[in-house]
């Protein structure tokens, strides 16, 4: 078990050999795990105090001067600086890499003010932006390091709490290319973040009933891996999306936009149903919001049923 935020922090450390890598913090480095970089490289770590708007644009100025800034805070607080990101980073296409940690209701007992359920949606709307939400430690580590190869900005959501490791060092993880974790022909579950693990559990449960589900880790929401969706649609004929994020505009929205315009099939969305959370433990939050493997199983059954009715 490890948290995706730990993968982010480790990636920063592993990128430190590139002297153009600089790290920006807004008084949450201990939480986002950029502290790992700060301890080793304080001279390249910039404290912005509790000032996210300023931090984003300092990143833009650094990027315009040839540096590779990685700025992190809680996902929810990146949203405070949305217009700075829109006008100061995405519009001039400056390669600032933003990490929003503690995303989703899984964040838990801090309550609804800290539980970003809209970050993926808003960043997905920005031209030039790459948007990622890795599912485990190693994929977070790998995707963060790949940001060095991007010519434009990126947003990555990481999670506060530990989840199971889904990948090994040998797994190829690439920005913009989904990982198919399980093959199946009855229904395809396309998930991101902490709900990838829940989706694998759901597939296990479905398998005991003889229902074989494909499970896709769509760690990159933008650019969306259309080929993987085509494969899922072709193999299964119906889809479930699963995310710890609003059903409006996130992974479910992205997949719906694509299939509606290309090859419509039944789609059931597991996600936060247009409501705010509250203080509770992570597992309690997933239960309250209808995001557990049990809910994914039910969604899969509905999708399969609708496919039969078509």
């Amino acid at each position: 078990m490890a948290a995706t935020r730990d993968g982010y922090g480790q990636a920063l450390l592993e990128m430190a050999g590139d002297e153009k890598v600089v790290v920006l913090e807004a008084d949450l480095g201990k939480s986002t795990k950029s502290v790992l970089f700060r301890k080793e490289h304080p001279e390249r770590t910039i404290s912005c105090g509790i000032g996210e708007q300023n931090m984003m644009l300092i990143g833009a100025g650094l990027a315009s001067s040839g540096y590779k800034p990685f700025a992190s805070t809680f996902a929810i607080f990146t949203e405070r600086a949305f217009e700075q990101v829109r006008n100061g980073i995405a519009r001039p296409n400056l390669a600032v890499h933003i990490c929003g940690s503690h995303g989703g209701t899984h964040t838990g007992t801090d309550g609804s003010s800290a539980q970003s359920i809209e970050d993926l949606a808003i960043y997905r709307t920005l031209p030039n932006m790459t948007v990622m939400h890795p599912s485990d430690y190693l994929s977070a580590l790998s995707l963060t390091k790949q940001c060095l190869g991007l010519s434009g900005p990126s947003y990555m959501r990481t999670a506060r709490n530990k989840t199971i490791k889904l990948y090994s060092d040998e797994t190829e993880i690439t920005i913009g290319k989904a990982n198919i974790l399980r093959q199946g022909g009855a229904v395809a579950i396309i998930a991101c973040g902490v709900l990838v693990g829940e989706s694998l559990d759901a597939a296990e449960a479905l398998a005991t009933e003889g229902i074989e589900a494909m499970v896709v880790d769509m760690h990159t929401l933008k650019p969306l891996d259309n080929d993987a969706i085509n494969q899922a649609v072709g193999s299964c004929g119906c889809l479930v999306t699963a995310e710890d994020h609003s059903v409006i505009g996130g992974l479910g929205g992205a997949v719906a936009e694509y299939i509606c315009a290309n090859q419509p099939v039944p789609l059931e969305m597991v996600g936060v149903k247009d409501r705010f959370g509250e203080s509770a433990q992570s597992d309690e939050m997933l239960e309250m919001m209808g995001l557990t493997s049990k809910h994914i199983v039910a969604a899969a059954r509905r999708a399969i049923l609708r496919k039969g009715n078509n």
Partner: protein, 276 residues
């Protein structure tokens, strides 16, 4: 003390720039002449005597940066960039025209010599901090100059940046506040009183100097003063007149964001001594 002849030369350049500001906004029937006219003398002094940039190589990595944070005052910047040879007279004619080099608000993706894509107020100072930090990391002595407006500094994020610049001891960050006392809807005094602007910057840990932003000698002296403040960021609080140089635009909130008509263009150019 500059020679009288060089002062009058700078003043002549400033008049030509003001004429272009009127022509650009007149041609586009849109734009922001008032805040362009108020910043012009500072821009002329900075570009002709101080800033290290190269019109032949606008992306020279070790150039000083100039960040027009009050990016709507773009005609003022385009005028001096044309004087300096970064862009052409034809480019000035493209102001606010589809596909044109000169976008409505200054944009680094469109115009040689523009280092920042502005348009939303309160963003340039933070960006300037990034540029100043990059210079420090590079071991370079290059500077980041930032132009703010007195209405603009009502944006709270400006003060996040003011704190951070002092905290990080950015002596290579050099800022102007163009205090022309008028913002979009009305006088600053009516919209949001700013009280003592110089005292605010001082209390944030900045070196501060107040000048008459239309007195060329005072501007030149202040530009030299910038270079001696050491390891603290410095700000010139420039008292200016919105619409400076064109009688019917001076201190007139209507010309924050309105273009001159045919008759007003003629009158303005005549007042500037550019036509008979």
């Amino acid at each position: 003390m500059a020679e009288d002849s060089s002062i009058s030369e700078l003043e002549a350049i400033a008049s030509r720039c003001r004429g272009e500001i009127l022509r650009m906004t007149h041609r586009a029937s849109a734009g922001h002449p008032g805040g362009s006219l108020s910043e012009t003398d500072i821009l002329v002094a900075l570009y002709t005597t101080k800033i290290r940039v190269d019109p032949a190589n606008p992306k020279w990595p070790d150039r000083d940066r100039f960040i027009l944070s009050k990016g709507h005052a773009s005609p003022g910047m385009y005028a001096i960039l044309e004087e300096q040879g970064f862009i052409s007279k034809e480019d000035l004619e493209s102001y606010r025209v589809m596909g044109g080099t000169c976008q409505g608000h200054v944009d680094m993706k469109w115009t040689p010599g523009v280092d920042f894509s502005a348009g939303s107020l309160g963003m340039g100072l933070s960006y300037g901090i990034g540029c100043a930090l990059a210079a420090r990391f590079d071991g370079s002595e290059r500077n980041a100059y930032v132009m703010l407006g007195d209405g603009e500094i009502q944006e709270g994020s400006v003060w996040e940046a003011a704190m951070a610049a002092a905290h990080h001891e950015l002596g290579n960050l050099k800022v102007f506040v163009d205090c022309n006392r008028i913002q979009n809807d009305d006088f600053v005094e009516k919209q949001m009183r700013m009280f003592d602007i110089a005292a605010k910057w001082k209390s944030f840990g900045w070196a501060v100097r107040e000048i008459d932003g239309h007195n060329m000698q005072e501007i030149l002296d202040a530009l030299d003063w910038f270079d001696g403040v050491g390891n603290m960021p410095a700000v010139i609080v420039a008292n200016t007149v919105k619409g400076k140089g064109v009688s019917f635009m001076e201190n007139n909130p209507a010309f924050h964001g309105a273009a001159p008509n045919d008759e007003q263009l003629g009158q303005g150019l005549a007042e500037l001594g550019l036509i008979q």
